[in-house]
């Protein structure tokens, strides 16, 4: 289990993290989302032991990560922009990882050659961005990590390779109980793979739930009310729009509870629709003064 408890980090005068707290259950696929500059990458760099916390704790299985080789051996990390030694080939990097990580599985590495058909002797810097990402995934999975940390992992990959990689990772999660923490702006894709989601904003956790809880807790309602009838007063409305007689509301609360309340005022028509992760993200952050604004050009 990954625990980030009350984490603070400042860069000069800028506070990147302001008491961030997250809990990632073991064996889950956790989506870390947030607007640009929310502190996602900073949080990930703490989780991988790159940054020293100014305050708070970052624990994996109850042990601190920073300067703890024993814990870091269990973690594989694929950043947004992957790094390989200049001039290094796939073979060189595999040899390096084999020396650094006791858990490196050479047999698995060879087997993965089928899934990631990359030239072993070509310098990695000659590969395209997508091919470099494939190389990073092949190496990371070969480490047999207990925790895999991904920052914008599938940027640059084609749809087939994306599906293949997610399939591989999810099978690792299912078979070995690997924990995956993934940060991405591609919420459509996260919705397909994540079972837990944390939304962070300005260095703090805004919301952290399982995806099903999150979707159960917010609904979209379309309704038409009779002339002169008002909405129930105790609705938690996050957003409202109107086209003719049809009103569209984003409401916080469970669908059963909201159905009962709306039915009580006798609407001419009403329908409850589930929200996508992207909509949840937009409306949650709208309440935190990060709403979509009309741009006038």
């Amino acid at each position: 289990m990954i625990e980030i408890i009350d984490l603070y980090k400042k860069f000069g005068d800028f506070s990147a993290l302001n008491g961030l707290s997250l809990t990632v259950p073991k064996g889950s696929v956790y989506g870390l989302v947030g607007p640009n500059g929310a502190g996602k990458t900073t949080a990930i760099r703490h989780l991988t032991g790159v940054y020293r916390p100014d305050g708070g704790k970052v624990l994996v299985d109850g042990e601190p990560v920073y300067e703890n080789p024993g814990v870091k051996e269990k973690i594989a990390y694929i950043p947004d922009e992957v790094y390989f030694f200049p001039q290094a080939t796939m073979r060189d990097m595999a040899a390096f990882y084999r020396g650094m990580y006791p858990g490196f599985d050479s047999e698995l590495y060879q087997r993965l050659a089928g899934a990631f058909p990359l030239e072993e002797k070509t310098p990695l810097k000659r590969f395209s961005r997508g091919m470099q990402k494939q190389a990073a995934f092949r190496l990371a999975v070969s480490l047999r990590p207990e925790v895999l940390v991904l920052d914008e992992p599938v940027d640059g990959l084609d749809p087939v390779m994306r599906r293949q990689i997610w399939g591989l990772l999810l099978s690792e999660v299912a078979e070995r109980g690997m924990t995956v923490l993934v940060s991405s702006h591609n919420l459509r894709e996260l919705e397909d793979v994540c079972d837990h989601v944390g939304i962070i904003h300005e260095g703090k956790t805004l919301i952290e739930r399982s995806l099903s809880e999150l979707q159960d807790n917010m609904v979209k309602v379309q309704l038409v009310l009779p002339e002169g009838t008002a909405l129930p007063p105790d609705l938690d409305i996050l957003h409202e729009s109107r086209v003719g007689q049809v009103r569209t509301l984003i409401l916080r609360g469970s669908s059963g509870e909201l159905s009962a309340k709306i039915a009580a005022v006798g609407p001419l028509f009403f329908d409850l629709l589930p929200l996508t992760l992207e909509e949840i993200f937009i409306y949650e952050l709208g309440g935190e003064d990060y709403a979509v604004r009309d741009v006038l050009l």
Binding site: T48, V50, R52, Y66, E67, N68, K72, V82, Q87, M100
Partner: protein, 582 residues
């Protein structure tokens, strides 16, 4: 409880073989290039040598001085490669996420850097041994090659340790070599720049670089140490420098453990050093800028306080702004100039200090009772004395110079006292500060001293070891040749001494304002005797290894003239032979 207590150390904490071998494999061009340089410097030339003395000169001379240059240059190259991961955000992210503690990373990469320097040295020494063994025998060659290797390893440890420390201070790879060079020479250079300002503004200031400034500038000190004292067998001295390198490595380890990876690309990586950098950079920039502007705009004229103050403040302001931009990595410096007025006041205070005589510095004359010996030098004259009466005379001249302290840039008089408490006091004043009586007294004093020195020299012709002769004929120098020990002693005994006794020849130590001193159109020989005087009293203030006595020989000095004419003819006959002396 902090992270250091909560985390466990393991075998991976201090050394990682994979990192070590990876560095050696990836950066092979560095150590291969160094090997090539060292082989070209030592074994290859040794193969073509025929004499043991040549091989010895190769190992002790070229090998030692070249060793300093290569150790200095390749240490920073090795540091830039093995610590290069600290200077990019991507590489720091990759490396810091590896299952390895910071000290393990530093020690593994430092070990690789040391190997990159040591291995080429061992190869060059072994090849040198084989090449030199055929010339001077293997036991002598082993001593030479072994000695050279020992010196190389100690110097490499010194410079690489220092480069490692510099690597921890910055987060930008382009800054690293600049920091390395500046810290190696920085204190001496800053002191030199301050001394230059004081020489221009403070009457009496004699411009000396203190030993501490040199000691804090390792490469300057090591070069001077080698050249001045030839410490080929001074293993204690060299070991001291190597110990300094080890100390730098230890400090680097302490800094590396606390290093923040987010400092990659920062000019200054250690947060508490940022104000230090701002101040040192600004002061250094102010001094460079002011000295440069003063040189080109004031035409070398001394004692222009207001322009110097203006140049210093302007330079300080520019330096402050540049330093701030470097620290912030931005052209916007915001409110960074808030504390600049403090620097401006300090720079103006430096000028004011000079303008007001350095708070008594200019006028300070020690009591005669407190002086052990005194020295005075002017133009080519110099003398040192421990006679109380002569010390008193120098003190009187000093007092007159200090009281007047005419601010004229021209010929200077240097006075140095060695005090009974072990201290020294050295001053420099303009000759123009003396009254006419004072000038006459100074001349009389120095010529008496010079006369005594010449008499002493003339009484011991066997000290003379060499002479150089230049013939001046029809308004031009026609030929120059050198005289060996026996020949020049003969000319001294049977030419110079009789001619001096006859009054037709005198030493050219000459008072600079005498008419005709600088020579005229008459044909002559310029004869310069070199005399071994190291450690001897009475041979002038400057007790270097050699003293020189010069003569301008005209036909009036019949004996010397005839001997030199004959020597010139003989030289013509043998001038194409191997030896330049005969």
């Amino acid at each position: 409880m902090n992270w250091e207590v909560r985390t466990m150390r393991s075998g991976m904490s201090f050394f990682n073989k994979t990192i070590y071998l990876n560095c050696l494999r990836r950066f092979w061009p560095v150590w291969a290039g160094l090997t090539l340089c060292l082989v070209l410097m030592l074994p290859l030339p040794a193969m073509n040598m025929r004499y043991a003395s040549d091989v010895e000169t190769l190992f002790l001379g070229v090998g030692s001085y070249g060793g300093i240059v290569f150790a200095f240059g390749f240490s920073i190259t090795a540091a830039m490669t093995v610590y290069g991961w600290m200077y990019q955000t991507r590489s720091t992210g990759f490396t810091a996420a590896l299952p390895l503690r910071r000290e393990g990373m530093l020690l593994s990469t430092a070990a690789a850097g040391c190997t990159m320097l040591a291995l080429p040295g061992v190869i060059a020494a072994l090849l040198g041994l084989l090449a030199a063994g055929g010339v001077c025998g293997f036991s002598a060659a082993a001593a030479l090659a072994g000695g050279w290797l020992g010196r190389w390893l100690l110097l490499a440890l010194c410079f690489f340790g220092f480069a490692t420390l510099c690597a921890q201070l910055t987060g930008a790879i382009w800054v690293l070599p600049a920091v390395y060079v500046l810290l190696n020479v920085g204190v001496a250079v800053i002191w030199y720049l301050i001394a230059n300002v004081l020489e221009l503004l403070l009457p009496g200031y004699a411009g000396e670089v203190p030993r501490l400034a040199l000691t804090l500038s390792p490469v300057v000190r090591i070069f001077m140490f080698y050249w001045a004292e030839s410490p080929f067998e001074d293993w204690a001295g060299l070991s001291g420098y190597a110990a300094f390198g080890v100390l730098c490595l230890v400090l680097s380890l302490l800094l590396a453990r606390r290093r923040r990876m987010e400092s990659a690309t920062d000019t200054v990586a250690v947060s508490w050093l940022k104000p230090v950098f701002r101040w040192v950079f600004s002061i250094g920039f102010a001094l460079c800028f002011a000295n440069f502007l003063y040189l080109i705009l004031m035409d070398g004229e001394a004692y222009r306080y207001v322009p110097m103050a203006f140049f210093l403040v302007l330079g300080g302001l520019l330096g402050w702004i540049i330093a701030e931009m470097l620290v912030r990595k931005s052209y916007k410096i915001g409110s960074a100039l808030k504390t600049f007025p403090i620097l401006a006041v300090l720079l103006i205070a430096l000028v004011a200090f000079c303008a007001f005589g350095g708070l008594g510095y200019t006028g300070r004359v020690p009591d005669a009772e407190s002086v052990k010996s005194a020295a005075i030098s002017f133009y080519s004259y110099s003398c040192v004395t421990d006679d109380p009466a002569e010390i008193a005379t120098i003190g009187e001249l000093h007092r007159e110079l200090a009281d007047a302290s005419v601010k004229e840039d021209g010929m200077d008089i240097f006075i140095t006292y060695t005090l009974k408490n072990g201290g020294t006091l050295r001053r420099r004043y303009a000759y123009a500060s003396l009254s006419e009586e004072g000038k006459a007294e100074l001349r009389q004093f120095l010529e008496r001293q010079e006369g005594e020195a010449i008499s002493l020299w003339l009484s011991e012709p066997d000290r003379t070891i060499h002479a150089g002769v230049s013939e001046y004929k029809n308004g031009d120098y026609t030929r120059s040749f050198e005289l060996g020990e026996e020949r020049c002693r003969d000319i001294l005994r049977y030419g110079v001494l009789p001619d001096m006794a006859a009054g037709t020849l005198r030493a050219v130590s000459g008072w600079p304002f005498d008419p005709g001193y600088a020579g005229d159109e008459e044909d002559c020989f310029y004869l310069e005797f070199e005399t071994w005087v190291k450690g001897e009293a009475g041979y002038g203030y400057n007790r270097s290894e050699y003293d020189v006595q010069s003569f301008r020989v005209t036909p009036a000095a019949e004996n010397t003239w005839a001997m030199l004419e004959k020597a010139a003819e003989e030289w013509e006959a043998v001038k194409d032979s191997y030896s330049p002396e005969y």
